[in-house]
């Protein structure tokens, strides 16, 4: 954590008073808590005061919050200094919080940092025109769109030195900028064509139980081999405690059940099961009985987008479920929003009212 300190005296404004808007906000926040517990609203008030003061908390703002909440100034100061989201020194008009945590770092945050250092200078330093300042922060939680920065309240993701440089140019010039991903993808969807999970059979229900079926098929020889394994449990020969010197024991390292099955042998080496017949040594294993019945569904409601209902004769879904290659998921017909499983819930697909 960077060393923080209060802004020097000459930077501190002489006074600070809540604007009517801040005052209203403060009263609203205080009303959330029972009488006498108004101090609970301290973080909300500090944040609002920071917003009003231009992105940082002057000493007078801390005192104003303390007075508003009937707290000792030191108590408010403790909070303002504890949380790094409160800036105690002036910041630029565009305060850039640059994510320097591992995922961003792996995706090229180092280059973004170089851009910041080149254009703005050291962190915690406001450019001469007051436009920019930046600060390296810990993970901001947009790792899938790494590298990213937060400028004031918005995230700017999928940065490259070039588009970040342009973004800063645009901001400095007052041109409109695009929030979120800078390469045009929507939220954190795959940034190029969808190329996974495309097999239509994944969505028609035909794969349900397939894995288990395959497992049962491969496991069958093992079951049939059991009597043989029991017979093999009788020691065939006395093994030497140590390999004879000079004559390395040839053992197949990759003696796996899969390999043995492929070679037409019993998947489990009978020698490994030699002790199985010895009842005293046996661990009691719950022999799972395979019955033909499917486990009862926990709920009649299916959370699969287009439930396949073989018992109703609907083997294939009514609507296409496979994304068409080349279309972005946001535009895909198959996009699900949860309304299928909860018909009573009206979902705002464009997510406008939030």
């Amino acid at each position: 954590m960077a060393v923080r300190k209060l802004a020097p005296e000459n930077m501190q404004p002489k006074s600070f008073a809540f604007s009517p808007e801040t005052e209203a906000f403060a009263d609203q926040q205080i009303a959330k808590y029972p009488p006498g517990r108004q101090a609970s609203a301290v973080i909300a008030l500090l944040f609002k005061a920071q917003e009003q003061a231009g992105g940082w908390l002057p000493q007078k703002a801390i005192e104003a919050v303390a007075a508003k909440l009937d707290m000792a100034p030191i108590r408010v100061m403790e909070i303002a200094t504890f949380y790094t989201m409160f800036n105690l020194e002036p910041v630029g008009k565009y305060f850039i919080q640059f994510c320097g945590t591992t995922p961003c770092q792996l995706r090229g945050a180092g280059d973004i940092k170089k851009v910041l250092e080149k254009r703005i200078g050291d962190q915690n330093h406001v450019t001469a025109d007051g436009t920019f300042s930046w600060l390296e922060v810990e993970c901001l939680g947009a790792c899938c769109n790494a590298p990213m920065v937060q400028i004031n309240d918005d995230y700017y993701e999928d940065l490259t030195p070039e588009n970040f440089d342009k973004l800063l140019d645009d901001l400095a010039a007052g041109r409109p900028v695009k929030k979120g991903s800078q390469i045009g993808r929507s939220t954190s969807e795959p940034f190029e064509a969808v190329n996974t999970l495309q097999d239509p059979s994944l969505y028609d229900g035909s794969v349900i139980g397939a894995w288990r079926k395959r497992f049962e098929e491969t496991a069958k020889p093992a079951e049939t081999a059991e009597p043989a394994a029991a017979a093999a449990s009788v020691p065939q020969e006395v093994k030497a405690a140590k390999p004879t010197a000079g004559r390395p024991i040839e053992s197949d390292v990759a003696d796996t059940p899969a390999k043995r099955a492929k070679e037409g042998e019993t998947p489990v080496n009978p020698a490994d099961r030699a002790g199985a017949a010895d009842q005293t040594k046996n661990t009691v294993v719950d022999q799972r009985k395979e019955s033909g019945d499917k486990p009862a569904p926990q709920s009649s409601k299916s959370y699969v987008a287009t439930p396949s209902k073989p018992e109703e004769g609907k083997v294939t879904p009514e609507a296409p479920t496979t994304p068409v290659a080349g279309t972005r998921p946001a535009q895909a017909e198959t996009r699900r929003d949860g309304s299928e499983s909860k018909p009573a819930v009206v979902v705002d697909k464009d997510n406008k009212t939030s």
Binding site: M1, R4, M71, A72, I74, R75, M77, E78, T81, F82
Partner: protein
């Protein structure tokens, strides 16, 4: 009660006990830094880790309740181990972490030798460091003239923050920043604004906060420790006077649950330099308008000459605020033998008098009794400066139950919310007449408490006000079997002792004010420095410091301060306590009773004792309750309050004014102290700032 097994010892403790308390009940010692019995539990130092059977990890015993422990599978009591290898390893780990950033400056640290961290490192420290990085460096903070900081040493136990917030009641200190950058400081490094602030240095388990005036002056193991009692106010806090050779080096609080718990005021602690400055170390005699050093014989002869030629009716004796019972008794006997009735120990003009019974001038509820009160009315007093530790008790009670507290007099910040009712006697009369809403609160209370201060009593109509307060106490049921809520808060340590002795004007005698204003030709002044003696009278001043009394004196007899003599003091509750001698008086100064004994010989009225023990034997024979040290001889308060209530009288309309203008400069010792002067200047600044 809950059963718990600590190290194999089964104890039965209240379920709300913490494991630490339970362990102590079982005789196991638990190391701790952040935990303090009188402060809230922080649980952040982790030194008190113990092993609880069934818990996956060691637990912090200071913050883990006995009732939170799970019993064993068959209902056995929970088991705690405080000495297991796991515990030792855990504590060693904690200690290692604490020492990562703790500087190795014990040789130059004032806490060396009295340091919790040092002591506990002896038990749990490892002798090498596995840490190769630089230690963290923290800038030292300014916390005022009494507390010196060395913040590199801080281990962030937050005891100081909790003390100032909870006990002292000023939210001055806090922990800023976080994690490794955490720093303890006051808001913008302002000086602490409490009259109890120096206690934080006592509380500090390391050397981060030390006493600034004593910095680098001594090592704790060089000091001779003497148990004593503080006389800076009438609370009579238990103190320990530490001296080296002839010099008192420091004063520390002693635990006394009945009086001061374990705090003392800054004035009680830091007047140490006042004990050696401005001292009168030889007799003086005024010749041609100038005081000149003299021998004891010369001084006594001068006094004897004067006394011989003066009518006993024109002789008077005044006693100051710091006198012990012994010398007051000797002076009273001497005056009696001279036939003098003008004796008074009430230089502030208070109306309290033994005539109305002992219960009329004691803090009858007792200081510890404040913790039972459920409604408090403070009349004409600012307990925060007149009896800071009484105020601490009221605040403690207010933290237990938010009881109604109201105040009549000068409006002041008492560190807890107070209903300010009014400034003068008429408000008191209103409450008595039931015309005030607070009367209901008092009437409804189980154990109401009325505290009357000297601000209401040191005035001509004081008796009428005292009577009014007594009537109120009676009408609200404050005086009854098992509870006496009529309490007088004194400001002078000598006052209750003097009243017990009957050191008040006899038949036709003059009061202190009358004597000072020219009522006598020869005034014997035993350490009264807060009274102006009008020109004309011949003043014999027996005292310790070159203060106002000495300036006015014609003969000065140098006496001993409370650390230089064995003296009995009676606190505002009527608790008899003895201050023991920790050092010797400077130069030719002598113990006060001995001076009076020697003077009586010269005057031809030899006092009937040759030793302190003989004096005390005679004193105890006459006033048996002085022999009951450390206890309060109960007074018949009910009849005293009845008598007071019957006095009646019509009080004036003047507002109550606190007798203490400056907390730090109330007596000659404090006025001689440079530290107190500094504190006083700072407090004045703070007051000006607050007034802006």
């Amino acid at each position: 009660m809950a059963k718990i097994i600590v190290d194999g010892v089964e104890v039965d403790v209240p379920p709300e006990y913490t494991l630490l308390q339970a362990a102590e009940a079982a005789g196991a010692e638990i190391p701790r830094f952040c935990f303090h019995e009188r402060l809230s539990i922080a649980g952040n130092c982790r030194m008190c880790l113990v092993e609880v059977k069934g818990a996956p990890k060691p637990v912090a015993s200071c913050a883990w309740g006995v009732r939170d422990c799970r019993p064993g599978p068959n209902g056995e009591p929970p088991e705690v181990s405080t000495k297991s290898p796991t515990v030792k390893k855990a504590r060693e780990g904690v200690m290692e972490f604490l020492l990562i950033n703790h500087p190795l400056d014990c040789p130059i640290c004032d806490q060396g030798g009295q340091c919790d961290l040092q002591d506990q490192a002896m038990a749990y420290g490892v002798d090498t460091s596995r840490y190769h990085e630089n230690k963290r460096a923290v800038t030292d903070k300014y916390l005022g003239p009494l507390v010196r900081t060395s913040m590199n040493r801080c281990i962030h136990c937050t005891r100081c923050v909790r003390f100032t917030t909870e006990v002292a009641g000023v939210e001055d200190m806090g922990a800023l920043w976080r994690g490794e950058d955490m720093e303890i400081t006051s808001y913008l490094e302002k000086a602490l604004g409490s009259e109890l602030q120096a206690n934080v240095a006592d509380l500090c388990p390391v050397g981060a906060l030390t006493h600034k005036p004593e910095a680098f002056h001594y090592r704790p193991w060089e000091l001779t420790k003497t148990d004593s009692v503080d006389i800076m106010d009438a609370v009579g806090s238990s103190i320990r006077v530490d001296s080296r050779g002839r010099e008192v080096m420091r004063i520390l609080p002693r635990v006394n649950e009945d009086v001061n718990e374990e705090w003392i005021t800054d004035k009680a602690r830091q007047i140490v330099d006042g004990l050696r400055l401005q001292r009168l170390d030889r007799p003086f005699v005024r010749e041609n308008g100038r005081l000149r050093p003299a021998t004891w014989q010369e001084a006594f002869a001068t006094v004897a000459n004067r006394v011989k030629g003066t009518d006993p009716k024109r002789i008077g004796a005044i006693v100051g605020d710091l006198a012990a019972v012994e010398e007051m008794y000797a002076l009273k006997l001497l005056m009696q033998s001279l036939g003098v009735a003008n004796i008074d120990a009430r230089q502030d003009g208070t109306v309290l008098s033994p005539a109305h019974g002992r219960g009329s001038y004691l803090f009858n509820s007792t200081i510890a009794g404040i913790e039972e009160a459920d409604a408090i009315l403070i009349v004409g007093s600012n307990p925060r400066i007149e009896g800071s530790l009484v105020n601490v008790r009221i605040r403690k009670r207010w933290r237990q139950i938010a009881l109604p507290i109201a105040m009549i007099g000068e409006n002041a910040d008492l560190t807890y919310p107070v209903d300010y009712l009014g400034a003068g006697p008429e408000t008191l009369a209103d409450i008595l007449a039931g015309r005030h809403s607070f009367a209901e609160a008092l009437k409804g209370a189980e154990k109401p408490l009325v505290i009357v201060g000297q601000g209401a009593l040191s005035r001509p109509d004081g008796l009428a006000i005292l009577s009014l307060a007594a009537q109120l106490a009676q009408s609200i049921g404050a005086v009854r079997e098992g509870w006496n809520g009529f309490s007088v808060l004194h400001t002078a340590a000598s006052r209750v002792g003097a009243l017990d002795l009957g050191f008040v004007p006899g038949e036709g005698g003059l009061t202190a004010q009358q004597m000072a204003q020219g009522g006598v030709d020869l005034l014997f002044n035993l350490g009264a420095d807060e009274i102006d003696v009008a020109p004309g009278a011949f003043v014999i001043y027996q005292g310790t410091h070159g203060d106002r009394g000495a300036h006015r004196a014609d003969v000065i007899l140098p006496g001993a301060t409370y650390t230089e003599k064995s003296g009995t003091f009676v606190n505002t509750e009527g608790r008899v306590q003895i201050a023991n001698r920790a050092a010797f008086a400077p130069g030719e100064a002598r113990e006060d009773w001995a001076i009076l004994r020697a003077l009586s010989d010269v005057l031809g009225h030899r006092l009937p004792f040759d030793s302190l023990n003989a004096l005390r034997a005679k004193l105890y024979a006459e006033f048996p309750h002085f022999a009951a040290i450390e206890t309060i001889t109960p007074a018949d308060a009910a009849s005293a309050v009845q008598a007071l209530a019957g006095l009646g009288g019509s009080p004036g309309r003047d507002a109550f004014v606190s007798p203490i203008k400056d907390f730090y400069l109330t007596n000659p010792i404090a006025r001689a102290s440079g530290v107190m002067a500094e504190c006083s200047a700072l407090a004045r600044e703070l007051r000006l700032e607050a007034a802006e």
